[in-house]
């Protein structure tokens, strides 16, 4: 566990030493708040739920999570510091988990700031606390899946920008995969599969406050799979 924490601390150090973290956090909080209060018009609705607030998050995550993970390996590969990390007494999996944990802590800090929104509106009406908990659980799990995908793409790259663009594109595709069903009539089995693979299908249950085990399993599987693949990439690079 300790080695993972050492790497995570280094990641956080470089997030907070560059403008990236501050810009990302500010932008994220600003956009979600503006959306919820000004565009979505929470105050004008007779509806005591944060569903609208959380509804925007997966879309912001499509650019936000890749922005956090784009540096993770691409920058190390480019500057040569990957050579330092990989020759220190860490296993590949520890390095990948450390970088993942660092990025996740940044997202958690960001989500902690969003607590200001529920805390502000809570006194105004009778909210379902369970619903809000479900929304946060879903958001954190979605972030895990997105961050691990982003790190995997970054591990294959030497260029932050291409890592950012490719992970954004991939995240967009797997987020809205279910849209395929809206525009074409797939065989039933295929249609259900596509629906299941789409990140947003599951996120909608979380946004309604349902902690659906299928969603939990799906997000967790994606996270584990991409973390494993990132570690594999590091090992394969040693052999090639």
């Amino acid at each position: 566990m300790k080695p993972v924490v050492i790497i995570a601390r280094r990641e956080l150090h470089s997030f907070f030493n560059s403008a990236v973290a501050y810009i990302a956090v500010t932008l994220f909080l600003g956009l979600t708040a503006v959306w919820f209060f000004a565009i979505y018009g929470f105050a004008a609705r007779d509806f005591a739920s944060l569903r609208g607030y959380f509804g925007l998050m997966p879309f912001l995550f499509i650019v936000l999570l890749p922005a956090i993970t784009m540096r993770s390996w691409a920058e190390e590969n480019k500057s040569g510091t990957a050579e330092l990390l990989l020759t220190m007494p860490f296993s590949e999996l520890q390095l990948v988990l450390g970088k993942f944990l660092g990025a996740l802590v940044l997202v958690l800090i960001m989500l902690a700031f969003t607590l200001a929104v529920p805390l502000t509106v809570l006194p105004l009406a009778r909210f379902e606390i369970g619903e809000i908990v479900g929304q946060y659980v879903g958001t954190v799990l979605l972030a895990c899946a997105g961050l691990s995908l982003g790190q995997f793409v970054s591990s294959l790259s030497r260029n932050q920008i291409s890592a950012f663009l490719i992970s954004s594109l991939l995240l967009l595709l797997i987020s809205v995969l279910h849209v395929v069903n809206a525009v074409s009539a797939l065989p039933r089995v295929l249609a259900l599969t596509v629906n299941h693979l789409s990140l947003l299908t599951h996120y909608e249950s979380f946004a309604r406050g349902l902690i659906d085990s299928r969603g939990v399993v799906h997000y967790a599987l994606l996270t584990v799979a991409f973390l494993y693949l990132s570690a594999r990439v590091l090992v394969i690079k040693k052999w090639s």
């Binding site: 080695p3 050492i6 790497i7 280094r10 150090h13 470089s14 030493n17 560059s18 500057s79 040569g80 510091t81 050579e83 330092l84 990989l86 020759t87 220190m88 007494p89 860490f90 296993s91 040693k238 052999w239 090639s240």
Partner: protein, 326 residues
């Protein structure tokens, strides 16, 4: 301590290392010398477990590196080529990160960092962000990083590149003192560096070992023997015929008498084939170690000659390097 056997490594279609074997004993300072692209860096990357060989075996302390990478990485300190560092740290923060990463006990970190800062002459820049450091300070920070955890083996890829002459001398002194208790493998393309620092040299060319030995051995091997200039003071009345006998000395060939002064001082230049003391084969290790200078001295004593000058004429490593890597 370190043993490479028939190691091959290619990057795509580029063959970087083609069948290299050597072994390094504990406590040796070994230099890898060669032109750019000769495979020096690749060999160091294999030793540190950053890359695994395509075929052949690379062992440290008897363990195959790719089978026990974590264990081996603990015993190594590594300065990669061009000293990559985390620019967003200050020197102190960076060394403390390395100390944690190297699992130095919390109580020891402060002391070890201070020692490395002192040894590498970094005291004046500890608070500066690494991004603002000059090439020389970056290089020294990299070296401090490599020696921080007091590893048994130091792998240094071009440790003095980018330094000015004073800094080069300082770093060489540091490497030499580290070499007293550690095994050091370093690469360089500077010949004097090898002569100044290394117990042994491996000259690499196109992914293969072109020559190995001490700088002097390589010189002797390649020039086909050792050359000496000798001046003797002979008894009055003798002439160059005193040299007739030297040709019977083990290994002597090509005696050229260049100077004859007043029939008392006789100078000659002669080359000695390596390795013809009784029973040894030419070109073998024993042969190379054969001390031709001592043999000449014995010869002079036996003939009642007084040596006023005896100078080995060594070809410079530069000349040999050019010849080997052409």
């Amino acid at each position: 301590m370190i043993e490479l056997t028939e190691v091959h490594k290619s990057y795509g279609s580029l063959k970087a290392v083609a069948g290299v074997s050597f072994s390094i004993k504990a406590g040796e300072i070994v230099g890898l010398l060669g032109p750019n692209g000769a495979g020096k860096t690749t060999i160091l990357k294999i030793l540190t477990g950053f890359h695994y060989p395509d075929s052949g075996s690379a062992r440290v302390d008897g363990l195959e590196i790719s089978e026990a990478p974590l264990l081996i990485k603990r015993t190594l300190g590594y300065l990669p080529e061009s000293a990559p560092l985390y620019d967003d740290f200050t020197v102190r923060e960076y060394l403390h990160f390395v100390a944690r990463a190297r699992r130095i006990a919390p109580g020891d970190r402060q002391r070890r960092c201070a020692a490395a800062i002192e040894a590498c002459g970094l005291s004046s820049v500890v608070q500066r962000p690494i991004a603002t450091l000059s090439k020389g300070y970056r290089q020294r920070t990299g070296l401090a990083q490599a020696m921080l955890h007091d590893p048994d083996i130091l792998i240094l890829d071009e440790p003095t590149s980018g330094l000015d002459p004073n800094q080069i001398l300082e770093i060489r002194r540091l490497i030499r003192s580290l070499g007293e208790s550690k095994t050091v493998v370093l690469s360089t393309h500077i010949m004097q560096e090898v002569e100044a620092l290394c117990d042994r040299v491996l000259i690499l060319n196109k992914g293969r070992i072109a020559a190995t030995g001490t700088a002097a051995q390589i010189a002797a091997e390649l020039s086909g023997g050792a050359r000496y200039a000798i001046s003797v003071i002979a008894a009055p009345g003798s002439d160059e015929s005193v040299f007739a006998d030297v040709e019977h000395l083990a290994g002597v060939r090509d005696v050229r008498i260049s100077r004859l002064e007043r029939a008392v001082r006789i100078s000659a230049e002669l080359s000695l084939l390596p390795g013809v003391p009784a029973g040894a084969e030419a070109g073998t290790r024993e042969g190379i170690d054969y001390d031709a200078g001592a043999a000449l001295f014995d010869w002079a004593v036996a003939h009642g000659l007084r040596i006023s000058e005896l100078q080995p004429l060594r070809r410079s490593l530069e000349e040999l390097f050019v010849e080997l890597t052409r």
